[in-house]
Subunit: 359 residues, 4 copies
């Protein structure tokens, strides 16, 4: 057996541990593993492909990022090709990718990536390529799995930052607005906000009123707490657009979104008169060594992908359900986004701790 | 409503966060919360009881241990009473505990503790006391919940230690034997061993052969790896008792167990001739601030216990199942221990990474 | 003896440990210690003064910020007084501060603060108030002491952030521009940049050429390193103003400065064509628990201040020289700023590691 | 120029960063650098020598241990040679080391090591070999430098452990005895004990009375503190030998020493009747990534060693004095051990915080 592996989309802590899990597990079965560089780009020219041996991956568990590189714009079904007149045209080059895959003698592809990568994997599957998926999302928005690797690390980084801001906020009687990742879902904001004892958490799932946020801050003040910590997911939005955030949003481009944290910071300062500061955590949340939790989960996903490959379970994706990693259909996984539900016990917990969502 | 809270058994990171979750959630409902000191001891004399206000618990999320203290020997059904002649007799004083509970006007008791504490809670339930349980175990051996607070922190501490030992082992071509907690189950050893890239993991569920452990170390040497990391759960046992560990084991007394790590260290040195060192992590695994994961889970368990109390679900215990905290019957929880199953994907992962279990 | 303590200026990790060091050391001598809240403000109305007992300060070593609060605008020699017409007039109210100090029976004031606070302390000294100083500066710009508490923590936070950005920069072939504190001196940028393996470090002491920074990034690219880490002190300035940063700078207001990191990020993207991201660490560098190094140094400074008080060394300030904490005249300390010298071995180290300063 | 580098003695966090500092600084001068494996052993057979390029060392700053390996028994002036009858005879093979050094065309040797390694370096110097030293000691016992790399990391590891033990000690009303490194000097115990709020610190420089340690614990109990933290350096000794620690001590073998922590634990339990637990940190203190402080200091030492080589300052050693790294004669450095002086402000600080030394 000869299998290929690639990583797509934004990087996440744990990608290298998944690769290590795959390579070591495959090695035990006597298989060969090859890494495709830069998502599917390495298969387009069939050149950027590297042999992955146990020695090569032995020490990479704790290294953030991905040794295979990744590509934000590299969908073979809409590949950016430069024409002779210099214009860029999105072209379907998927057939040549499939051809190269076969010509190189690969028996399976393990595609590690987010929702976008899983959609591409599903299309290749329908073209007859034997694909196994490993879900990757910092944001925790893939519905078929309880959680994926990278999320625990991101929450940890955000919580540590909130912890640090607490003491300086308190010393100076300031409001601190911390913008965390989460364009469509509020999981990082919710987890880090609760763990970090935030006073206000603003998430995309719950449109907020600026006035209610300011009321919460005033109430704290009446009780003697002259500082406040406001955690804002980058995709949080006010009800009816009472503040406007003008930013060009491009896919995979978290840091650019910015804006909402800064805007809220200005609004709070204006309305409450309190000194307010804004911090955008941005790429810090993607980087660094995976937490112990994420290391283990990544290795489990990698090892499971090899078991699924051996069992011929193509078209499935590794998923954590309760305490076990199982195979679920990729199609099911890309069906819907996992967002924060009003009934979830986590949201109830936040409210019962007195945290305001501005609603 | 007036509710009581206590913590029993060995301490675990997150106990204070559970207490905070309970107090803040109860406060929102207009309830009063009282902390019983030292397990049930505070109810025996009805004196060591403290009022828990939101202010009192505000900053305790990150503090390890328990502000209520705990008692290793404090089971009211077998309470150590000193007689006039100086002898200690275990006496059933549970009736007076129930009386005190009622006389103080409590409507419910939230008991945070391990398997032993849950058994006591169940007995009080049968005596008519309205009890809600919150499971606590560093070892992760309670079967009704996917995981409990404290475990992630303990695994993290053990993994960090293993990480540190790697570099020194490598520099000196040494074998390092790390003894971690786990008298009856091998979860901490398994999780930290995989995350920390151990070469050998020895757990109570899989009796091991000393010779096979040494063979693994010799194989590594042949491949050019002159050092090795062996993670041993304190309760791991060789097949047929080919090494003997003589220690007096007392309940709740992890560090005393010791022995197996030291013994294995000596055996490996003798058989392989390799310089070998032994580290016993002991109480380091219990202490310190909870990880972000444990902070959140603890707060969720605390908030859930208050919801279950309001709903009159007495006799149940908070449990994490997949992504939600639900109520499960305490009786069910104390029925069986959760041990590492040969079919679990985690064990398969370890084996596919080339880790030896000495079997 | 009855001594007073206050903390002034921006907060720094270790302030509480200094306070603890003072209180415990004074307690051993049978002295009483009182905390003046919010810099000198607490002495203006003589109301915001709290008794500091050993119990009160026992657990504060690891807590960031200051339990006494601080005041950015609270210089008694230029105190903002609101007139009846609503205008704010800066007034000299230092005499009433001295009167209150005496009326309350204080024998000495230990003033913990930065350059500004030391200047005020010096003025009070000349008015006959017995003052001992403890230097505080995140930026490490006080010349009379090898280093002060808070700096090691800030460098640590910045280095951890740079570490995290490395892996994501590498995975995406991006340039990351990290803006760190340092309005007038480049110590944090220099220490964290070297420790974090930055490619470029820009500091106020060395005016830089944008073009040279871009050349360095192009050179890395030629050698196969397609990403780069640029660490910029907030006060770094290009030669001849070839980029303009328009910001209103207010004293003590680090985060507002911003600008230079974002500007450099835009310039690099424009000139090199490389995808570039900008991170402003801001208040993260001030917050959180002090490192072990800062904890010890703070406790030593606190204990030394009490020894100096007992010896009547008023007008001096605690300073670390080599391995000992000694007393140096406050006047000497406020004479000059400690900036990065071209001859310092640290700067030579950075250059010999191949780090560019854009000069 | 062609220079050689080796690392000797026990490993310390930062060794790899020193190597990186040397290689990058030498590369800038157009020099070649070679690593001698296993102390001087690599020069004995002239085979275990590797070329060190900038690429090879680029990512090693944060890696603990040493990529060159080290040798505990490898002094060429007393080298263990196995005779034909199987006996080991210590032989002076230094001449052949010098010959190999010259035959390989080396212009200088940078020897990174502790007191023992510096003595060997000094002997080679006298044989005409151009040697520059870089001091290494976890224990901080080299007198010519304010501090060396590795010490800050070791103190940090010990302090984190003490922090963790605090909460569990408090929850269970226990005495925790933590044994840290320091056979001849108490620096690690002193720094970590103060930073970690220990109640008792026992160091080799101050012989202690077991009874006085127990009195301190009883006093704490009277004041309501039912737990205690005792930090013991492995080389601490009671006055007049009122407890006996029988252990075979071999050089470089810290963990074996053990004993004193366990003995003190048993004595305290016997005398005070308090539940007492013992933790031996051992190799944890040597391992892992260097702290930011140690990373920078290591890189500075490495870069300085290259500058000293260029300036022909053979026979000197890099040393930190106040804020600068300077060259000091190796002879001076090996003259005396740096032990804790009764007059040092650190010791005074500890006493003024109420910490007992059992004297």
């Amino acid at each position: 057996m000869k299998i290929a592996v690639n990583t797509g989309g934004g990087d996440a802590p744990g990608l290298n541990a998944v690769i290590r899990g795959i390579v070591l597990a495959a090695y035990q079965k006597g298989w060969e593993v090859y890494g495709i560089k830069y998502g599917y780009r390495g298969l387009v020219d069939a050149k950027q492909i590297i042999r992955l041996t146990p020695e090569y991956v032995w020490d990479i568990t704790n290294i953030g990022g991905t040794i295979l590189g990744t590509a934000i714009k590299g969908d073979p079904f809409n590949f950016p090709i430069e024409k002779s007149d210099g214009t860029i045209v999105e072209t379907d080059i998927s057939d040549s990718v499939v051809e190269n895959f076969r010509a190189l003698g690969f028996n399976a592809l393990i595609a590690i990536g987010g929702d976008g990568s899983m959609r591409i994997a599903d299309k290749f599957l329908k073209k007859g390529m034997p694909v196994i998926g490993v879900p990757k999302t910092i944001d925790n928005d893939i519905s078929s799995t309880d959680v994926t690797f990278g999320f625990d690390t991101a929450v940890n980084t955000a919580t540590e930052a909130i912890d640090k801001l607490h003491t300086t906020a308190k010393s100076h009687d300031r409001v601190m607005v911390v913008e965390v990742m989460g364009r469509y879902v509020g999981w990082i904001a919710l987890h880090s906000g609760i763990s970090g004892s935030a006073d206000v958490i603003l998430i995309p799932e719950i449109p907020f009123h600026v006035e209610k946020v300011c009321n919460k801050i005033r109430q704290l003040s009446l009780r003697g707490q002259e500082y406040a910590i406001v955690v804002v997911a980058e995709g949080a939005k006010p009800v009816g657009g009472d503040i406007t955030v003008v930013e060009n949003i491009k896919p995979g481009d978290h840091i650019r979104l910015g804006g909402i944290g800064r805007k809220m910071s200005e609004e709070i300062m204006k309305i409450t008169g309190k000194e307010t500061r804004n911090i955008v955590l941005g790429h810090l949340q993607r980087g660094g060594a995976p937490t112990t939790f994420d290391r283990l989960l990544s290795l489990r996903f990698g090892a499971a992908a090899v078991r699924f490959t051996e069992a011929g379970k193509f078209g499935t994706m590794a998923a954590l359900r309760s305490t076990e990693v199982i195979a679920v259909p990729i199609e099911e996984a890309i069906g819907q986004m996992k967002s924060v539900s009003p009934e979830s016990d986590i949201l109830q917990t936040a409210r019962s701790l007195g945290i305001s969502f501005g609603d």
